[in-house]
Amino acid sequence: MITRREAIKWGVVVPAIAASSQAAFARAPQGLDAFLLDTRYVENLPAEHAAITAIRFAGDVTRPWFDTLDHAWRRRGYVLGGITGSDALFVLEVLAQQHGRRVVSQQQLGEKNERGVYPVSWVIAPVHPSVTA
């Protein structure tokens, strides 16, 4: 269950990463453990900002999942922000739910393409007592 404190905390985060992808990343807030960047929608961004690691991928979530998130989401804490396609977010959301995490905020950043997929910024945070920090 997400706490009021967490709701307030991530409520602050969302507006900060909900602008354009460039501005969003530049204004990435403190408190995120990593930032997932879908290169189909964001380019030319540094590998790190404000000590937050940026993980890049191109629509296929396999490598971020296997290399990073599957480990990180087994431990307590770990708040993940991202700017991705909505298709990638769907996959991450399903994976997150099984690990006691939830998309606590999201905002559409652009128009849907012909497949109904659109760029979106989001935050996935731990909500279950077994993984909250």
């Binding site: 269950m1 296929d60 979530v61 399903v94 099984q98 497949r115 997929v117």
Partner: protein, 529 residues
């Protein structure tokens, strides 16, 4: 809070309270935000009053907790719906078939209990995903492969129980066929082990499947008779190399003989990997959706004008390089008499596979789980939006050229008549070695009106297929009754015997009510409505 049908709030609350005492408060989920996790994201009833929803969910950590939960449910007739990871999107996801059921979420039971290198087998709990198992094998330096579906985010146990399929070799890629040994909690809370697992002290549980007497493994396939808590699997020893090759022929008339020959070679173990039969000329507009097979003259004209092959058989060989090269050479000899035949083969891939090669191959062919399929639409293969989703239509059809052509034409014509969209259509999938399965992916919407049309159309297609002798091997919950009805031999004796078994083993009908059209006695007449 939703309560199970016909149950008082007090009885349900009492049952949940006992379950809480078993697993701890934090592992019982009954708030709307938590229960959203247990919706079927690809439901054809999304947002409608009839959408199948859980009343609560509970996540036990071990077999003893499962037994205690089942006993608590049985005492009060609370319906349970076990899931492993609930990720079989397109076939129902984590949602129960009977609304109001308590989802028994086995995700915390995620221990890999044994990997036996010498026996090439494993024993796992239901929460172990293909990614979990792959990682374990990698980190321990194992020389064994899993066979995984695509996507590979689901559970070995759950996918096998659903009869899922993968992409490697015969004996492994039909996941139910690779099962050896089951442990299940029955509706009375007692524990059953099948095969050699029933013999205390046996070291052969993952070696000999049958044990003694009737083989009971089948009781748990797509069933409502127990909660599977352990399952053994055969694993494929990593081969030296893999070779993929194709045979192209250029006449409509070649298909029957091509399929007959492919069958003979596979059944004779000349090749062991998953074969394929396709039509480059009919897939020129969409590589994952075969268009309708026209009449022979028109078909052959299309072949001449396009220069594309009429039919393509693909072969996959896994084994020592010199052996698989020899097998491929033999296959070429057998097809050499076809007019204008063309052969193609890639250089063999040797294992372990190097990272650059790994990035460009279809990973499930090498037992490597992937999530890439969710982004496949971004590369232009059809109109695929994973957040709206799709359902699978999966009918078993005869493994022959005639079977492909007839199924293709019937499905294409009827779907066009009904206005039913297909974004993937392959009439000859070969996960299971002795038949073809016609696979069609039907887009699902978040729009009730469009979904109503979809449901009516798919139900009609089920009946049309049944008229041709084609039945689905697996289906989403909304169609389970219709599909089971189609298996109607002997006044639906199959369903009636399943119901008799259900009544005997689960007299209160607490487990997976309605799954694959088998309802407990008290819900049978209205089928859960």
């Amino acid at each position: 809070m939703t309560t199970p049908p016909g149950m008082s709030d007090a009885t349900f609350a009492d049952g949940l309270a006992e379950m809480r005492s078993v697993v701890g408060d934090e592992w019982v989920f009954d708030q709307p935000a938590d229960l959203n996790t247990y919706r079927d994201f690809y439901s054809v009833l999304w947002g409608e009053p009839e959408e199948k929803k859980a009343s609560a969910a509970i996540a036990p950590a071990n077999v003893e907790q499962v037994q205690a939960i089942v006993r608590a449910a049985n005492e009060r007739s609370i319906p349970l719906y076990p899931i492993s990871t609930g990720r079989n999107l397109g076939y129902g996801g984590a949602a129960p078939v009977l609304s109001g059921s308590v989802v028994l979420d086995l995700k915390r039971m995620n221990r890999i209990l044994d990997v036996n290198e010498g026996n090439c087998s494993c024993l796992v709990e239901p929460g172990v995903s293909y990614f979990d198992m792959y990682r374990h094998l990698q980190e321990t330096g194992s020389k064994l492969w899993i066979d995984c579906p695509d996507p590979g985010w689901g559970s070995l146990v759950g996918n096998a129980l659903d009869s899922g399929g993968g992409y490697t070799t015969a004996g492994y890629r039909g996941h139910w066929e690779a099962v050896c040994g089951i442990e299940a909690v029955m509706a009375d809370g007692e524990l059953l082990r099948t095969g050699m697992g029933a013999l205390p002290g046996s070291e052969t549980w993952q070696q000999y499947r049958m044990g003694i007497g009737p083989c009971l493994d089948g009781l748990f396939r797509q069933s409502s008779l127990g909660v599977v808590t352990k399952m053994g699997f055969y694993l494929f020893p990593q081969p030296e190399a893999h070779l993929s090759a194709t045979v192209d022929v250029f006449r409509f008339e070649d298909l029957d003989e091509m399929v007959e020959l492919l069958n003979e070679l596979e059944y004779g173990n000349v090749f062991n990997g998953m074969p394929g039969i396709g039509s480059p000329v009919l897939n020129q507009d969409n590589p994952i959706a075969m268009s309708i097979v026209p009449e022979p003259d028109e078909f052959n004209r299309m072949v001449r004008e396009s220069g594309l092959p009429a039919w393509r058989a693909s072969f996959n060989f896994y084994g020592p390089e010199k052996v698989i090269r020899a097998q491929w050479e033999y296959v070429q000899e057998r097809f050499a008499h076809f007019a204008d035949v063309k052969f193609g083969a890639a250089e063999p891939v040797r294992f372990p596979i190097d990272p650059p090669t790994l990035e460009r191959v279809q990973k499930p062919r090498y037992g490597i789980p992937s999530l890439e399929i969710f982004s496949v639409g971004s590369r232009g293969f059809g109109d695929f939006n994973p957040s709206d989703g799709h359902i699978w239509f999966s009918a078993v059809i005869p493994r022959s050229g005639k079977g492909i052509i007839e199924a293709n034409r019937v499905m294409r014509r009827e779907c066009e008549r009904l206005g039913l969209d297909l974004f993937m259509f392959v009439p000859s999938v070969t996960c299971w070695t002795r038949s073809f399965v016609l696979f069609a992916a039907v887009p699902v919407y978040k729009d009730p009106a469009r979904n109503q049309h979809l449901r009516e159309s798919v139900t009609e297609i089920i009946d049309i297929c049944a008229d041709h002798g084609w039945g689905e091997y697996r289906c989403p919950p909304a169609f389970m009754d219709a599909v089971m009805d189609a298996y109607s031999f002997g006044d639906n004796k199959l369903r009636r015997v399943n119901e008799q078994i259900k009544d005997a083993l689960d007299p209160k009908g607490i487990l997976s009510a309605g799954r694959y059209g088998v309802w407990p006695r008290h819900l049978r007449e209205g089928r859960g409505a």
